[in-house]
Symmetry: C2
């Protein structure tokens, strides 16, 4: 039996979950790992709020130095969130000789290079399974079980808020605004939901997945990010009629020279495993050149799922495995391949397009002519019956370069017979 | 960069896949892990057959001592299969000071205790990710990402042969015999399919999953095992009409005193994630008290998926992590909890039952009376229209003790109005 003391910074929802697991599941962890883990110090600016859990006397304080200066504490957990105070705290913890476990995807995506270098310089390690996919063991798999593969693609539903909203829009026919309000009521969306619905949170997670999966370095600011704010419930319904489901996806694909990284809503064939992932669930599809298609599915957020991943990292760190993983990851060591993110205009994919057209003959011919000039061929056309002067024309295209698609739509939107801006959504998950 | 030499015993389908990965993906592995892995010796009784791969001169031989006596080779891979020669070879490899990677589930399920003890005595380690779920990183997740959980249940589709056959019966309406022949033609089933279709292979995998997931020891011979040979295509069709899909499941559940382990076909709600797993795919649902429901999905067999898991273990071993995992697993160390497997008569579940009855009034009342006497309550009755003297009566029950169900069916099958043996299939995957 090995005894170990850990410190926790940030006693919010996930932090409380971590404390619950360490205090209430100690027996099970001892039995399975031989580790006797003591939560020795918890640090938070709010030391009075009732979190529904009784910490042993003297454990909770607002004094970070209780963790920094305690030589018994070798592993510290950062669960503050955000990128300013959290960054400062992690650097202090590393400087004080602690290995650091964090769930902070924003911090890693934005300052990973600097933090990892600081850890290396101090001979410390970092682990961050909880930063992506909550209780889904995805990062551990990318740094172990998938290692014999060249990863071809990583495509995931990694934001539960967006998936909940899109599911409500799909099954309940609700508008985006209504579905968002519903998600806020249930605690699935924050009062300010921008980071979730704008795709930023998914982009942070994609950066971490791609870093580990492709073993590459890239500039995260080059990643193309769209949210779900512009998704119209009509597009969800038209897509459903054609056998597709709309999901917000984090997409990473190995390309020959560069790397294709983007976050946006996409049409998936409704039978696709990712299309079945509903409500607050997350799933990540990893395709390797040896293992083929695989998918990991589970609760991508929430107190205990996320806390279980944090504690798994603490165990991994105390066992000594996480240190090996961190040292071998080659993250930001100069040994990794620096890759350019493929510009969005250069990607090639299929598209769903909706035009708002005057209800008169010849419109379709005009649209088809412009698309043809840009070498975009039409796979199918659907003109839902509506009794209005402006009718939607919905189209699926074959694969086309995005730059050509944008140019074509610009031209089409200037046609006399077009009555509003055209909308396109990319397709994903079909055989090439 | 660390250079390492490995030896491979068994140059069949998966062995050839391992050689392909090590020879052809060396660059990628070096870049990601800093390991330069050399396949130094391959041993097989057949040294002449063309496997479609060119090993470097002198690597292939039929002489095991080339591996045993080479001090440079620290990790050896056993891919012979079977439990007699393979056991002997693994013991020799351990005695010669090699760490051993194996994909051999039968060997581990039947002789795991002895092999792990031998490894411990010699200070060696074993790794076996490829023994369950092919390219699905399930064992690595159970020994890492899930460690903070008390695992409540592990339910999996872990035999691709059975899943392929059941999928063909479900979507094509084929009989079991026809679907099996089809699977054999495509190479999804062996000439002698007994170990697969009889449930034995799933039971081996369940033993490994339960050992790691529940951290318990048990007698594998106590596991209740049924195969799919008795599944009638009519039951698949009746189940489909009621919204269920029949799958062969490996089921492990934590019970208060004992442990519930069984392999049998079961009705799953057709919307259940496991019900969507079709053809040769595998999936394992792991439910933890912290992480909630999760599922890992992918190719459960095949040359490269399985080989990718073997090579991942080799990497894990060479990095030093697999040794830590093996030493901390507490497998067969006397420190693990010895658990009794719950006798099948003591389990409680819902049932699908099909009676073959004479087409006359009062039959249903008689059946209901017998069930009622055993405190089995009926949830729904379906009497498909057929023009025959013998009609099927299909029923779903509420939860009942299996012993009671068996006794009731024995009584019912002796009724005058019953014209053939009643069949029951357990339900799985519904909220309690």
């Amino acid at each position: 039996m090995t005894t170990a003391a850990v410190g926790l910074v940030g006693f919010g929802t996930v932090g409380t979950g971590v404390a619950m697991i360490l205090l209430e599941r100690g027996d099970s962890i001892r039995r399975k790992t031989g580790l006797d883990i003591r939560l020795k110090a918890v640090c938070d600016i709010d030391t009075t709020r009732d979190r529904g859990i009784a910490l042993p006397a003297g454990v909770l304080s607002d004094d970070l130095s209780r963790i920094l200066n305690d030589p018994e504490i070798t592993v510290a957990i950062e669960l503050i969130g955000g990128t300013t105070v959290a960054k400062d705290v992690v650097l202090k913890l590393l400087a004080a000789g602690k290995d650091v476990v964090t769930a902070n995807k924003a911090l890693l995506a934005e300052h990973g290079r600097e933090l990892f270098q600081a850890a290396r310089q101090r001979g410390r390690a970092m682990a961050f399974e909880a930063s992506v996919g909550g209780g889904i063991p995805i990062l551990g798999s990318l740094t172990n079980g998938y290692l014999a593969n060249n990863i071809d693609s990583i495509v995931g539903i990694v934001n539960g808020t967006c998936n909940y909203i899109l599911t409500k829009m799909t099954t309940g026919g609700q508008s985006y605004a209504l579905a968002l309000r519903d998600a806020q009521k249930l605690g699935y969306a924050e009062a300010d939901p921008t980071l979730d619905v704008g795709g930023g949170d998914s982009a942070h997670k994609l950066a971490i997945l791609a870093m580990l999966g492709f073993g590459a370095e890239f500039d995260t600011s080059e990643v193309h990010v769209e949210g779900i704010e512009g998704i119209d419930v009509r597009d969800i319904q038209f897509a459903a009629q054609m056998g597709y489901t709309i999901k917000l996806l984090a997409i990473g694909k190995r390309a020959s020279e560069d790397i294709d990284l983007r976050v946006h809503a996409a049409l998936l064939p409704s039978k696709h495993p990712l299309a079945q992932v509903s409500g607050p669930y997350n799933a990540i599809q990893v395709t390797g050149d040896a293992c083929g298609d695989t998918m990991l599915y589970g609760r991508g957020a929430g107190q205990l799922p996320t806390a279980s991943a944090v504690v798994a990292d603490v165990i991994d760190m105390l066992l000594g495995r996480a240190r090996i993983t961190f040292e071998r990851l080659n993250l930001y060591t100069g040994r990794t391949q620096r890759r350019r993110v493929k510009p969005i205009d250069d990607i090639e994919t299929k598209y769903y397009v909706r035009f708002s057209a005057a209800d008169r003959p010849g419109v379709l011919a005009e649209i088809a002519r412009v698309l043809g000039e840009r070498k975009i061929s039409i796979a199918s056309v659907h003109q839902p019956e509506v009794q209005k002067p402006v009718v939607p024309i919905v189209m699926l295209t074959h694969r086309a370069r995005e730059g050509s698609m944008r140019q074509a739509l610009e031209t089409i939107d200037r046609l006399d017979s077009i009555r509003g801006p055209s909308r396109f959504i990319r397709l994903e998950g079909e055989e090439e």
